[in-house]
Subunit: 390 residues, 2 copies
């Protein structure tokens, strides 16, 4: 038999303070490894109902159609695009980083006529410009709430009302913001939102939380979605509640059972802390770390009013070999942070402030290690960090 190797990789422990995956609590890993059960088992049906309720609470929505797409966060984006845009649709897409660019790419592949409203990478887009672009008769407005490539939080002010007025759908990427930055899906007038399991929810990657408003649900095609795998009409037939007298859950594809065990447990942990406490902790963790890194000469890319709490992107001074420092941090200290993407490659570090990573202890480890590698005295940065948490 060709190609078999004898290599056996032992478990590697990393402190995950990059752009995601984020650190996964022991409770979640334990849930992940529960014995697998069938996707049509009534016990699994109960778990799905519990998870849907928890997801609604985490998303702050009453949307009945709230579920997890069987794929990573980008699968959530794809499901959004293929179900709510048809070829020839005119759509508006905010682009101020890699994930807005990715969305515009996916929309173009779907055959939409995409009007891009761009801003500099590292800045938010003025909502008024997005609203103006809607006026020409767009069927949807896409924005990235938490831009993972730059650490910018996009203000959603007025977007929901403008979409309602123009009978357009407001479609939002909440991958990095959900459960770490204030977000009210219903109050913001969001029609469709997707996220990823591996950011502030602290679950391993592999699932995309997803919700759609009743208005969005009405626009779902019945069997004419170009994608079989992401056909939400069929997927919702599997996720519907089994109640006596109602149509039973129907088989679509085999759900990723163990990943859903883990997601449910992750959501429970988010809700035990609750909002607004969780959002406030992320804001504080962001500020504390920012203060400490500033003393190491690492300044935040985004202006204060536009910063995304769960992801702190800082400029790396020219004199620093960013890739070498990042590699040393990973291999010698076991700490992962992320580099820049696209035009920001080699110029920034992206540091996750997500869930259990948004605590004093992991941040202390990072600041100490980074000070050491940069040849700086860690005293003042650590003092600033402690002060930020005090």
């Amino acid at each position: 038999m060709p190609g078999m190797t004898d290599l056996t990789l032992t478990a590697t422990e990393r402190l995950l303070l990059g752009s995601g995956p984020s650190p996964v609590p022991e409770r979640v890993l334990t849930a992940l490894s529960r014995p697998t059960i069938g996707h049509l088992d009534p016990v699994f049906g109960e778990l799905m109902e519990q998870m849907k309720a928890r997801l609604r609470a985490v998303l702050d929505t009453e949307n009945h159609a709230t579920l997890a797409i069987s794929g990573t966060g980008s699968a959530g984006m794809e499901a959004m695009v293929v179900n709510f845009v048809v070829p020839g649709d005119r759509v508006v897409c905010g682009v101020n980083g890699l994930f807005g660019l990715r969305m515009a790419d996916a929309l173009t592949r779907q055959g939409a006529i995409v009007e891009r409203v761009a801003a500099e990478w590292g800045r938010a887009i003025d909502p008024a410009r997005l609203i103006d672009a809607l006026a020409g008769g767009a069927s949807a407005l896409f924005v990235v709430h938490g831009e993972t490539s730059t650490g910018v939080c996009q203000p959603l002010d007025g977007l929901g009302a403008a979409c309602a007025e123009h009978d357009a759908l407001l479609l939002v990427d909440c991958v990095t913001s959900l459960a770490g930055h204030e977000l009210h899906v219903d109050a913001a007038g969001i029609d469709v939102a997707f996220s990823g399991s591996q950011k502030c929810i602290n679950c391993p990657p592999g699932l995309a939380p997803f919700t759609l408003s009743p208005k969005a649900a009405e626009r779902l095609g019945k069997g004419n979605c170009r994608s079989w795998y992401f056909d939400l009409d069929a997927i919702l037939g599997y996720w519907r509640e089994s109640t006596p007298g109602a149509a039973p859950r129907s088989y679509h594809h085999t759900a990723p059972i163990n990943m859903l065990f883990a997601l449910d447990e992750s959501l429970a942990i988010v809700l035990e802390e609750g909002y607004p406490a969780r959002w406030e902790r992320h804001a504080r963790a962001h500020q504390a770390l920012r203060g400490a890194l500033s003393l190491l000469g690492l300044e935040r890319l985004a202006p204060a009013a536009e910063a995304l709490n769960p992801l702190l992107a800082v400029s790396v001074p020219d004199v620093v070999d960013e890739a070498a420092v990042r590699r040393e941090l990973l291999l010698d200290h076991g700490i992962e942070i992320s580099g820049g993407l696209g035009p920001l490659a080699g110029k920034i570090w992206r540091i996750g402030v997500m869930g259990i990573g948004a605590e004093l202890a992991p941040q202390r480890r990072l600041v100490s290690a980074l000070s050491e590698i940069l040849g700086r005295d860690p005293h003042d940065p650590l003092a600033a960090l402690e002060l930020g948490w005090a």
Copy 2:
């Protein structure tokens, strides 16, 4: 916060002898719950190389482009369709069960002109008919090697050579056959094959093993795939080997890290047993169980020469309330088997003979419990089972 519940579900143990998911070994659950690491971590790169080598061995292929798609088995089907068919293509699709039907549906959504070559559910398709259909100038031939809805194994004889002759691609669904029924991807002339993690590989659901031949790789579009998530050209950029001097792995989407830990361990277990031993064990397990169930009046749907070893589908006599028996088996005995789908709903049971489920001990539990529920003396069926394994 709306909708939160207090329900806490404890772990449920099931003996999974349905159409999948199959039983998951403890070793695999342990691998699944290893601490999460980053998708660009060099340690994870090593794991990917090891897994690719193991996947090639399990698929019996030398294809360089061998990987796992980040989704369930049906995501593998979708990736196949969106990368190797463009709107307007004429394609031939074998349909003799739900999964052939699903493939024809996915092809139609993709804009292909689909020529269906059908056979009765429960029978294989005569390969000569598939070859004849190719003659009209088709760009691809799709078949389901192991039809999970009926327990039929499709002979692949001559299909590879015919596709080569007509410059068509041979695209095969190996979801239920892989690692349980004899299959040689390269020797059969298969250009693209996909499978699912949760059948004979005994991994939880959530990944789709996938391989493409050099001929298929040449046909990959460069950035013009209609799907962003399943764009293989981009995905292969992430899965490529990191070697000094070569282009580094590029980020596409965040891989489902923990699921890949589990898949790698599952593949190791398959290879420890090796082929042909593993195929022979599945054949023996199938025959033994078939003999035992026959004594309970449960006859196999497929003729002997067309039976799929990993899935035994048996007709349920009219006097038996199939759903009630299946429910009692699940809730009172903790054993899952599957019912029929589509035209076979209520008429058959589908019993998995997959990996660690294809052993005497779990089959003994099933035969005992089924005898009890059906009000039959288990003595003779159990004796037949033991004899089949002797």
